[in-house]
């Protein structure tokens, strides 16, 4: 059973769930009766979750306090899964992956090649939408990790994802008997290699130009095939462009995707009139001093003796329209606020360059079949 592909109603034992603690802290969790999920806000028994609908907020009273700690239990989606991954992992983030899927026209009929698998986050997004995903990973340890994860997540059971251990730059994409792969080759078809017939290719490789020449063996021969190469450096793009042209790929376009996220914030509205009023308040208090100095000066001019004019104690300013600066909580209803947006403090200013191209191997038609069809439609 896939934890991703079926919309689930309630949280059940054995489910893979995502626990949302904060926006930057989302943790995967296998629901296990009797166990507990520990955070610094408290310990959440899985039994409190079981039977509740997905999306439920779970509360526990924090130890030695009258307050509650809260988490939300969510059903995983590829996008939430991506957010839950540690940031240091190489991840294709949603702004890129969603654009690539749109450009590659991913849908239930798509047959997609992904190399390499990497963290597997993009594989999840592909798996949701496409007819079949052929994922390739050359790093053996990462292959094993991804294979295990795909299995645990139910992607393999869903039947539309296979993963193969392969250096596609050296050995191409063909999947044969004996390969280290989750692809099931049954002897019945009389072939000893998988029928791939890909129409969408995603290459996240350091040297896509070494893989591109192998593609002709596995792409569908008589339909338009779309390709995307994901490369961080511009020199990789340059070399990719060269090879794409050499191997007959056309409609070449390279783009960058810039994803941005904004926080919703409030800024205190501090009006000029209030600021002036505050200063008037200060001035008034000082006025007494000024008056006093003026009197003293007059007396001086008139040769009167300086009296022991008692210096009045200045009272603290009473008028404080903006509160005590940073100690006012944002949104405090005693003040007026303006809604403002603030870009995230650290932005992902570059992920990779995306080079797209397409190819139709055989720009031909089945003349016999076409003639029949035309004949059928004659007036």
């Amino acid at each position: 059973m896939s934890h991703f592909s079926e919309y689930k109603d309630t949280i059940q034992p054995g489910d893979l769930a995502l626990v949302w603690i904060t926006r930057d802290n989302i943790k995967p969790l296998t629901i296990t009766p009797g166990e507990a999920f520990n955070t610094r806000y408290g310990s959440f028994p899985h039994d409190d979750m079981i039977g509740k609908p997905y999306g439920s907020q779970i509360a526990v009273r924090t130890k030695g306090s009258d307050r509650f700690g809260f988490i939300h239990v969510l059903q995983p989606t590829p996008e939430l899964w991506t957010l839950s991954l540690p940031h240091r992992t190489q991840i294709v983030y949603t702004p890129d992956s969603s654009y690539i899927m749109q450009r590659l026209q991913c849908g239930p009929k798509s047959r997609v090649i992904e190399a390499g698998t990497g963290s597997g986050s993009f594989s999840h997004a592909f798996a949701r939408s496409v007819g079949h995903l052929f994922s390739y990973e050359f790093h053996e340890v990462r292959y094993e990790q991804a294979r295990k994860e795909f299995e645990e997540h139910g992607l393999l059971a869903d039947g539309n994802v296979t993963i193969t251990h392969r250096d596609v730059c050296l050995d191409g994409f063909t999947i044969k008997t004996g390969d280290k792969t989750t692809f099931k080759l049954d002897g019945t078809s009389g072939r000893d290699s998988a029928e791939i017939g890909a129409d969408a290719i995603f290459l996240d490789l350091p040297a896509p130009w070494d893989a591109i020449p192998h593609l002709d063996d596995v792409i569908t021969p008589d339909a338009k095939v779309r390709l995307c190469c994901f490369s961080p450096c511009i020199e990789q793009v340059d070399k990719t462009l060269e090879v794409l042209e050499k191997f007959g790929w056309t409609d070449v376009e390279m783009v960058e995707i810039q994803g941005r996220q904004y926080e919703s914030r409030r800024q205190m509205v501090r009006r000029l009139d209030d600021a002036l009023e505050r200063l008037r308040d200060v001035r008034q208090r000082k006025q007494q001093g000024v008056e006093r100095r003026k009197r003293m000066y007059s007396k001086l001019l008139n040769n009167e003796e300086e009296t022991s004019d008692v210096r009045p104690t200045t009272t603290k300013a009473q008028f404080n329209p903006f509160g005590k600066g940073s100690r006012v909580k944002e949104g405090d209803t005693n003040f007026q606020w303006k809604e403002v947006s603030k870009i995230e403090p650290e932005i992902k200013s570059h992920t990779s360059y995306l080079t797209f191209a397409s190819k139709i191997m055989k720009k031909e038609r089945n003349e016999e079949l076409t003639a029949q069809i035309i004949e059928q439609h004659k007036y």
Binding site: D9, A223, E245, D251, T370
Partner: protein, 450 residues
């Protein structure tokens, strides 16, 4: 023949012209399609080829060339023959595949090769007059030939840099070449068609990248039931359909899109360009007005107003009264459908592209979204979503509303002259994304930890 990969009769396809203008055509058997100055062709000549194929229109010298002096024929573009082109000059790609034009090498910038000696005197440098070119167009058939003649007559052509030469050629090719590419009508294609037609307002200024991101953030799958508001006239619904069914009328998937509309009748006009059958759309796309959705008919009143007859009763009914009965029966089922859509479904996602005031609209739409399911809301303006996200933030049924933006920046991909395009269309819109959640009872009395 698979209509998803091959050019097939009765399908709508997107034609890309040399100018990169787009045109949507229905491929009626035996008909001709005219591309104006780019020529005309016969539909039968293209069917069967893979979608994505580029065809060049050419005219044999023996054939009757368009006779522009004959006024009655002036609007009738003669149908040409077709041949396959290996590659079209792409918008940002190499300017030309012409063998006479040397491929630019990396770093060819030398001041001696610059345009130093070229002084811009406008059209005077082109010794071919507009009249002569028009004359050539009338006589000749190949754009290539006109361009060659123009280069011969161009006084300054050899003073231009290779780059300028290519630019010139490309511009001229777009002007005189006669070719077109037949593309599958994807949701992106439909969007580009609208933009290119200047109908940016209809598309609510949405960009391809924003549209694609809505589909992923909305976790759109072929087995979900989605609540949707679509003010783009069907573009968004088409994008959902494409992601869910990939153009496949035979798809066994059970997903549905319930479209809530602001006016009395829904506007999904753009679906007329789609290749989904009417039955398919009826099965997978349901529409309901906001009034019916928020104030659905009361079941008791509906039952009071009408009771379906048993088969026996129906048999006894006079045939002249049956018409009225069936109209009424249809109304009855329609009312039941409305009640079901408005009250019985827990939606798997909410996808909104609306200019209604979102802070009052979205929380109410969100009521019927199942816990843990995403809510994705589009707006042309960030300020609108800012107000929405503040409203949702103080409502504990919505988890972590955030405003996201995605922008695509295309490059010129001529090797040796790589750089982002100098200008591009602004806009593209913004997305608010959050998840529906079910607050714990304790939450009411306490502060969220987050």
């Amino acid at each position: 023949m698979d209509p998803l990969t091959k050019i097939a009769y009765d399908n709508h396809v997107l034609l890309r012209l040399p100018s990169n203008n787009l045109k949507i055509c229905e491929l009626k058997p035996n008909s001709d399609i005219s591309l104006g100055k780019f020529g005309a062709f016969r539909v039968n000549d293209i069917i069967g080829y893979p979608l994505g194929t580029t065809f060049e229109i050419y005219y044999d010298q023996t054939e009757e060339a368009p006779d522009r002096s004959d006024k009655s024929k002036v609007n009738k573009i003669p149908v040409g023959k077709l041949r396959i082109l290996e590659e079209r000059a792409s918008a940002n790609g190499p300017a030309s595949e012409d063998e006479n034009t040397p491929q630019p090498e990396l770093q060819t910038f030398e001041s001696s090769e610059s345009n130093k000696n070229l002084i811009n005197i406008g059209n005077k440098i082109q010794k071919l007059t507009m009249e002569e070119i028009e004359e050539l167009k009338k006589q000749s058939v190949s754009g290539e030939q006109i361009i060659s003649k123009m280069i011969e007559a161009h006084g300054g052509f050899h003073q231009k840099t290779v780059y300028s030469q290519e630019k010139y050629l490309k511009r001229k090719k777009q002007k005189f070449a006669k070719y077109f590419t037949v593309e599958y009508l994807s949701s992106t294609g439909l969007l580009h068609y609208l933009i290119e037609k200047g109908d940016v307002v209809r598309a609510m200024d949405m960009s391809q990248e924003t549209m694609g991101m809505m589909l992923n953030l909305g976790n759109i799958r072929s087995n979900g039931t989605y609540l949707c508001v679509d003010e783009t006239g069907g573009l968004l619904v088409y994008a959902l359909l494409e992601r869910m069914y990939g153009g496949d009328n035979e798809s066994p998937a059970t997903g549905k899109i319930v479209v809530v509309h602001e006016n009395e009748h829904p506007n999904l006009d753009l679906l007329k360009f789609s290749n989904y059958s009417e039955e398919f759309i009826e099965r997978h796309v349901k529409t309901i007005s906001i009034l019916d959705y928020f104030e659905p008919p009361i079941i008791e009143e509906v039952r009071e107003a009408f009771t379906p007859m048993t088969d026996e009763q129906l048999k006894e009914m006079k045939s002249n009264k049956k018409g009225a009965y069936y109209r009424r029966l249809k109304w009855y089922h329609n009312q039941l459908d409305i009640i079901a859509l408005a009250t019985e479904i827990q939606y798997d996602g909410l996808i909104v592209a609306s200019t209604l005031h979102l802070p009052t609209f979205v929380p109410r739409l969100g009521e019927k979204v199942h816990g843990s399911r995403p809510i994705v809301c589009y707006s042309q303006f960030k300020e609108t979503l800012l107000e929405l996200s503040h409203a949702l933030y103080s409502d504990y049924r919505f988890l972590a509303p955030s405003i996201v933006e995605t922008r695509c920046r295309p490059y010129q991909t001529i090797r040796g002259r790589l750089h982002p395009l100098m200008t591009m269309r602004g806009g593209g819109g913004y997305i608010m994304w959050c998840h529906k959640v079910i607050p714990a009872q304790e939450d009411i009395m306490n502060v969220k930890v987050q």
